[in-house]
């Protein structure tokens, strides 16, 4: 078996995500090399699995083939699993955007492909007691009495463990946001929409837009 094919299939079967930011080589192969992609799909098919990508087309992952399982039971099981992760993830997104946004600006949550530094997050939090209190209350922070630097580092480590961030530069402690965070946000938006918590569509714009630009 081709080594690339083997690496990609193994990664996907191990439940890992192949995103354009943290794993650009394999992502490009899946996107552009039709032959390899077909082979991967065939290989997954024999195991009752299917290759899919998220709405923003930044990440590939593997799901059950609909014909091989009881969809509703499986979805229910997965929903319960994801349900536990929503609040920690939202807490993480909220605290990071609070740290990096001035009070007069609208908050925008992180997105795949962006980079953040631990030092910048610390600088954005350390002079605001309300932000520090929010940070301390987060589920991922177990040691509530530790200094703010440790708390922020713990936060980043947990996000890295969840596959939402990858360490890009050890010296400057710069992290890259992965496509898995995009997937997580899409899931949470699906839940918010179905719980009728408002729409995400801005007013139509005539100039908009053939380009699939990411910002």
């Amino acid at each position: 078996m081709d080594k690339r094919l083997q690496a990609i299939t193994t990664k996907l079967l191990e439940g890992k995500f192949i995103c354009q930011f943290s794993d650009p080589d394999n992502f490009v192969i899946l996107q552009d090399d039709v032959d390899t992609r077909l082979k991967v799909e065939n290989c997954l098919e024999t195991l009752g699995r299917k290759l899919v990508f998220n709405d923003s087309q930044s990440t590939y992952y593997v799901v059950h083939d609909k014909n091989t399982i009881d969809q509703k039971t499986e979805a229910e099981r997965q929903f319960n699993h994801i349900r536990q992760k929503i609040r920690p993830t939202l807490g993480f997104l909220d605290i990071i955007s609070s740290a990096l946004t001035s009070s007069s600006e609208n908050k925008v949550f992180l997105q795949g492909g962006e980079t953040i530094k631990i030092s910048e997050v610390i600088a954005g939090l350390e002079h605001n007691q309300a932000h520090i209190d929010t940070l301390t209350r987060l589920d991922w922070i177990k040691r509530k009495d530790s200094p703010i630097t440790d708390k922020v580092k713990t936060l980043f480590k947990e996000a890295e463990k969840e596959g939402l961030l990858v360490l890009q530069d050890k010296i400057t402690e710069r992290y890259l946001v992965t496509g898995k965070l995009d997937v997580m946000q899409e899931i949470m938006l699906f839940i918010a929409e179905n719980e009728q918590l408002g729409s995400t569509e801005p007013e139509p714009n005539n100039d908009q837009m053939k380009m699939q630009m990411k910002l």
Binding site: E14, V62, L100, E195
Partner: protein, 417 residues
């Protein structure tokens, strides 16, 4: 505003004007500029006014407020320049064109040539000016759009660049209106000039137009992200108020979203199905493992003392064995170094008078491990460099890669020769 305030404001502005060179140097270097000691007094004055702040010894940078004020002012000037300059240049073009028409009417050839040159030069100047502005905006916008660092400030900048591009487009319209004049058809020279002028500008204006669309798309997506964020914040608030919320509506529709069917992980260790009884595959698997074992054999050596029956191996006996093995090993090294020859650990063991207190297996384990320990100890590594150590293995397991030590050869003959 009171008179006192007016006087103070005047003094303040005068002081800033007086030290404008220092300020522009600070503006140029965001992280802080270095100044010679003789400037210190002037810098202290500016510091007391809150215009600059120190970052290190003899290093100053602009205060946040001053930088913001200057940024605002500079951007306004930039925009104003664009429309004023285009206006001025169009006026110059109009004037020059009238003069050209007059020259044509009076059939004054010398003047005609002069006016033609003048018209050409103005057109080139306008095209250069527009190209410069378009290029400048294009570069800045590309940097801002391509910047992947999370931050809000760049969107303010992008919005500002969009305003500049709008000004550029307005300038283009103004020029088009001007060149729409019938006079350009009546005079062949002017018609040719018009065509050349637009050819020169098209490249820049096209890129500027595309960029404008790109920026508008970016801002639209930004708006979309803000709305998504606020929606997620509402979900967060819902879960904060009711942490056990069942989210039933979403739960019922979960099966329609691919992610909720995400497959559990399978850890892949081999692609060979051992239970397949496919001899060819199993042989290939065996050979692969064998090759891997040869490539990187298991080198862990662990000595386990055998049990002495119901009572554990007496501690004093163990201590005596350890003491003895150290003595033997030191003696072995001394012998090799002094005789500058090679020696086998087993031969030495057999010839050593009190070797019966040490078990052969333990001696071999010690001779095998000790050089490795010495290698990592700075004080002993030097001694180890005096000879080479070669391990002879008795057997080699193909599957696990484990090896049994048969003998250890110490050789000082080559090193000291």
């Amino acid at each position: 505003m009171s008179i006192d305030n007016t006087i103070e404001a005047t003094k303040f502005i005068e002081a800033i004007y007086k030290h404008r060179h220092l300020l522009s140097k600070c503006y140029g270097e965001k992280a802080g500029s270095f100044f010679p000691e003789e400037e210190e007094e002037r810098l202290q004055t500016l510091k007391s006014m809150g215009v600059i702040r120190p970052v290190d010894k003899h290093m100053y940078r602009l205060s946040k407020e001053t930088r913001q004020l200057l940024d605002k002012g500079l951007n306004r000037i930039h925009l104003r320049d664009l429309s004023v300059d285009i206006g001025a240049q169009v006026e110059a073009l109009t004037l020059s064109m009238f003069e050209y028409q007059e020259a044509v009417a009076t059939k004054d050839k010398e003047r005609m040539v002069q006016e033609e040159d003048e018209l050409k030069s103005i057109c080139f100047e306008i095209a250069d000016f527009v190209a410069d502005k378009a290029k400048n905006i294009y570069e800045q916008a590309k940097i801002a759009l391509g910047n992947i660092e999370y931050g809000q400030q760049r969107f303010k900048k992008i919005q500002l660049l969009l305003n500049k591009l709008d000004q550029l487009m307005a300038a283009r319209e103004k020029l088009e209106l001007f060149f729409d004049n019938e006079v350009f058809i009546d005079y062949p020279f002017l018609d040719t000039l018009k065509v050349r002028f637009f050819l020169d500008m098209t490249e820049y204006l096209d890129s500027a137009r595309n960029l404008r669309q790109e920026i508008r798309s970016a801002l639209h997506l930004r708006k979309k992200r803000e709305l998504r964020t606020s929606q997620l914040q509402r979900l967060d608030a819902l879960l904060k108020n009711d942490p056990s919320a069942l989210l039933d509506n979403a739960r019922q529709k979960a099966h329609s979203m691919p992610f909720f069917l995400v497959a559990p992980s399978i850890y892949v260790s081999t692609n060979v199905d051992i239970n397949s009884y496919d001899d060819e595959l199993l042989e290939q698997y065996r050979q692969t493992i064998h090759a891997l074992a040869l490539q990187k054999p298991e080198s862990k050596s662990k000595y386990i003392r055998e049990s002495s029956g119901q009572v554990d191996y007496a501690s004093f006996q163990k201590e005596r064995e350890v003491k003895q093995v150290r003595l033997m090993f030191n003696s072995l090294l001394r012998n090799i170094i002094t005789s500058k020859s090679q020696m086998s650990a087993i031969e030495f063991y057999n010839s050593f008078p009190q070797s019966e207190n040490v078990r052969t297996a333990y001696w071999l384990h010690y001779c095998h491990r000790q050089p490795q320990i010495m290698k990592n100890a700075p004080s002993k590594a030097r001694l180890l460099r005096q000879f080479t150590v070669r391990i002879k293995f008795e057997s080699h397991s193909d599957y696990s890669g484990n090896r049994v030590v048969k003998d250890v050869l110490f050789d000082a003959s080559k090193r000291l020769a």
